[in-house]
């Protein structure tokens, strides 16, 4: 017989083992069959943005490749699917949203993380990007700290 518990006290109760439900297994994505490699594809028509983003992402432990537009990026993904795609919104030839739509339609061994990089004026459209299959977005100009926070949130680092 224990001491009666007063207000604010913490009590413990033993639950019979038979009543404990088995741990739920996390739902797996149909494409999450293989681990994602530490490779990143930066897709941006701005040479300077690619130049700025590259050392940030390399600093996070990724091997980085670059593409100037969605069409080139899609070809690179078909040849060698990266684990992470940093994607500009507005590009010539194929826009970011067109790219991510086609990327998600590919039968890949794993589901690459896609992060949209947008300017402030484009953030109103970002939900279209998320709907199309992007995982996260960062607003330009982004810093290494803000990028790291976003990537940690989606489990990319």
């Amino acid at each position: 017989m224990g001491v009666p518990l007063g207000p604010g006290a913490i009590g413990r109760a033993a639950i019979p083992a038979a009543e404990v439900s088995p741990p739920m297994s996390a739902p797996t994505h149909p494409l999450a069959r293989a681990p994602r490699p530490r490779t990143c594809l930066i897709v941006d028509d701005s040479r300077v943005v690619r130049k700025v983003a590259r050392p940030m992402i390399e600093g996070l432990g990724y091997h980085v490749t670059e593409a100037e537009n969605g069409e080139e990026a899609l070809a690179r993904c078909k040849a060698d699917m990266p684990g992470l795609v940093m994607l500009d919104w507005d590009m010539p030839v194929m826009t970011g949203i067109q790219f991510v739509t086609q990327l998600r339609a590919l039968d890949a061994p794993y589901r690459p993380k896609v992060v949209f990089c947008t300017s402030r004026s484009e953030t109103q459209d970002i939900f279209k990007g998320i709907e199309a299959g992007a995982d996260e977005y960062v607003t330009k100009p982004f810093t290494e700290a803000s990028l790291r926070a976003k990537l940690e949130r989606i489990g990319a680092i």
């Binding site: 028509d45 701005s46 300077v48 943005v49 130049k51 700025v52 940030m56 607003t139 100009p141 290494e144």
Partner: protein, 85 residues
Amino acid sequence: MIEIEVQNETYQSQEKLRFAVMPRIGEGIRLLEPGGFWASFDVVDVWYQKAEFGDVWIPFLHVRKTGDEPGQSAPCHEEAVSYAT
């Protein structure tokens, strides 16, 4: 006037601006910042890219705010504003 695509490292933006002359690498240019003040930017690189249309080469500038280190964080999250010379 020469129309130049200016890629701004500090603001990670790109805009088409008009210049009287083509700036050279190492020169400083004055650009209007989002806050409405003029600031000095260093010309880090100059190059030309073939346009989507015809046999036309478009000049590009890579600029960085004077005093900024490469890869340093940008001061604000607003787009740069165009200016005319």
